[in-house]
């Protein structure tokens, strides 16, 4: 019971965190030119967009995708300057892969068309808004290096503030894709495609399949893009499994003791059984079946008891009041997860171990001679 609950919590928490950041920015799979993900350079762009996009549209496992461009820049408010990370995003496609619409804390999501004065629109991160003292409707001046060596410089009008001061994009400035491409002299090239898989658990398989279809570009699952995070997650899960193993082992020593005791207590009965003609194999079978049935019954009872609890954890979860940050991602609700792995793995494990444990006492009962057995107290 505890095993199932704890496993559910661990899987659930991590799955929750993974959702938070894959849907925040990373997506399930990303496509870049060469090693752009590790060593971004403005000229490492994806040129043949039509080919990539038609492949993405044709793959049934792909739920949605969005192109992006990036560049570091320098942002000027009325009196202050701050470094900024430029994100060029498609106003139509980006909301299909991330939760950016929900992240807008002031103003509104932008469109690609310029405003009535001819200025392009931009959305800025909450950190940038605070450090430059900017609000919705203000002008922001941006300077960056263009892909052709020119110095990109322009004025934008802020239509929205994104996220809060702890978001990954707190120093970000979002521009409509076409505006960002022109600003950075990128033509129609992009730096990245981010996509969501229909089944988030099979994103690595999807990534591998796409890599085969697009050999000229680098296709990476989020596990590769966020390698540090993924490793943290894996080691946390492993640590948890080790701990669970220890608990289960102690429990089984107890169970073994119980089974052994029940066999010893009934030694005389086994003696009678043997003396009236039971074969040793029958006794082993008897004890084995007894234990397995008992284990099945207790697993079933445990399942009935724990399922509502897990269901509640999955659907509602414990609100922790204060948000906790794990690997740079925040989460404020501890949630569980219901999956075949979480429910069946512990059950199967317990049944198998119970069956295994029943064998030594069974053998002991089988080997005993009726005379010794009946003579024991």
């Amino acid at each position: 019971m505890l095993f199932v609950l704890s496993l559910s919590m661990v899987e659930g928490s991590w799955s929750n965190i993974v959702d938070i950041f894959t849907l925040d920015h990373t997506g399930h799979v990303q496509i870049h030119n060469g090693d752009y993900a590790k060593r971004p350079k403005i000229h490492k762009t994806i040129r043949d967009r039509l080919a990539v996009e038609s492949i993405l549209n044709d793959r049934p496992e792909v739920a949605s995708w969005a192109p992006r461009v990036f560049s570091p820049g320098l942002a000027y408010g009325a009196a202050k300057t701050a470094p900024a990370q430029i994100f060029g995003i498609d106003p139509e496609l980006e909301p299909t892969v991330t939760r950016i619409l929900q992240k807008i804390s002031a103003g509104s999501f932008f469109t690609a068309s310029p405003n009535s004065d001819g200025y392009s629109k931009a959305m800025i991160g909450a950190g940038l808004a605070r450090s430059l003292n900017l609000a919705v409707g203000d002008e922001i001046v941006l300077i960056a290096s263009g892909a052709d060596g020119s110095i990109a410089n322009d004025i934008f009008i802020i239509t929205g503030i994104v996220g809060n001061v702890t978001s990954f994009d707190r120093q970000g400035i979002y521009l409509p894709l076409t505006v960002a491409q022109e600003f950075l002299s990128l033509g129609s090239d992009v730096h990245e495609y981010t996509l969501l898989a229909k089944n988030k658990h099979s994103n690595e398989a999807l990534s591998a399949r796409l890599q085969m279809q697009i050999p000229s570009l680098k296709v990476s699952p989020w596990q590769e893009i966020q390698a540090t995070f993924y490793k943290t997650m894996q080691s946390d899960k492993e640590g948890n499994m080790f701990f669970m193993g220890l608990v289960v082992f102690i429990v089984f020593v107890g169970v073994l003791n119980t089974v052994l005791m029940s066999v010893l207590e009934r030694t005389r009965e086994f003696g009678v059984l043997k003396s009236i003609g039971s074969r040793p194999g029958d006794l082993v079978k008897l004890i084995f079946l007894e234990t397995v049935m008992l284990a099945s019954l207790s697993v079933f009872a445990g399942f009935l008891l724990i399922f509502p609890a897990i269901y509640w954890f999955t659907e509602v979860g414990i609100n922790m009041g204060m948000a906790v940050e794990v690997g740079g991602v925040e989460f404020d609700t501890m949630k569980g997860e219901i999956s075949a792995y979480v429910m069946l793995m512990p059950m199967a494990f317990i049944l198998c171990t119970a069956a295994l444990i029943s064998i030594p006492p069974g053998l002991r009962a089988a080997r005993i001679t009726p005379r010794v057995a009946m003579g024991s107290h």
Binding site: H43, Y76, V141, I143, A147, D148, G149, I151, N153, D154
Partner: protein, 245 residues
């Protein structure tokens, strides 16, 4: 950038120089004296070539003595009006689209000027060749080769400069810059001499960083006017930097 100014002024001198009178210090000193004393008004084309892109810019440039320089981009349209002002060892860039003057900080001096193979420092620095370098001259029938070694006190990144000059006409052919380990770092070649404002000058100057494959910057002089009366200290004011044109 400094080099094309040197070239401009060097050759206004050399037009009257006597090739037989080959005192290297005098040639270089005169070159620098002339550079300091004269003004120029230049129209030029800059072609920046990198493995990723080629970019062509039309520029105007004015200089007055060693202290003042002013450049403005005419095309491409996107960059039109971007200007650089150099006064003594300070430098500012002006961006008309955002109406901002940005001082180039000392930390950016080794950064590229407008994506070219010239650094901001090239525009600003005022190394006096004859003061900072010891000069060794070798001579062939048609060329002088000046080898410049920095003196003990010199503040320079170069370990050696080789300066190749043809005798007839007396024009530079190339400058090669070496680091302290003796590796070639940068080469400037001068070619296609043309007559501007009555003076013969190599009209094409090409900078090639030797440690970066596929990169080069060519400057092609379209027009040069020497000692124009319209160039005064006023040309190099903040007001002019921000002026519409």
């Amino acid at each position: 950038m400094r080099y094309f100014l040197i070239v401009v002024l060097f050759f206004s001198y050399n037009a009257s120089a006597n090739a037989a009178d080959a005192d290297p210090r005098k040639i270089i000193d005169d070159m620098e004296q002339l550079y300091r004393g004269a003004s120029s008004d230049v129209k030029m084309t800059m072609v920046v070539q990198t493995p990723q892109y080629q970019r062509t810019m039309q520029l105007t440039g004015q200089s007055l003595g060693r202290e003042y320089g002013f450049f403005r981009i005419l095309s491409p349209r996107k960059d039109r009006g971007i200007a650089t002002l150099k006064r003594d060892s300070e430098m500012w860039n002006y961006f008309p689209k955002i109406n901002k003057v940005i001082k180039v900080p000392p930390s950016m001096m080794m950064g590229s000027w407008m994506g070219s193979d010239f650094t901001n420092d090239d525009l600003v620095k005022e190394t006096q060749l004859i003061d900072a370098y010891d000069i060794v001259m070798t001579e062939t029938v048609s060329e002088y080769l000046f080898t410049l070694f920095p003196t003990q006190q010199a503040v320079t990144v170069w370990g050696k400069i080789e300066y190749l000059v043809s005798k007839l006409p007396l024009l530079p052919k190339s400058q090669t810059f070496f680091d302290e380990d003796g590796d070639r770092i940068r080469e400037i070649t001068f070619s296609e001499p043309k007559v501007f404002d009555g003076r013969m000058i190599p009209s094409v100057l090409e900078v090639r960083p030797m440690n970066k494959d596929g990169y080069s910057t060519r400057i092609i002089y379209d027009d040069i006017i020497f000692d124009s009366a319209s160039i005064t200290a006023q040309t190099f004011s903040m007001r002019n930097l921000k002026a519409r044109f």
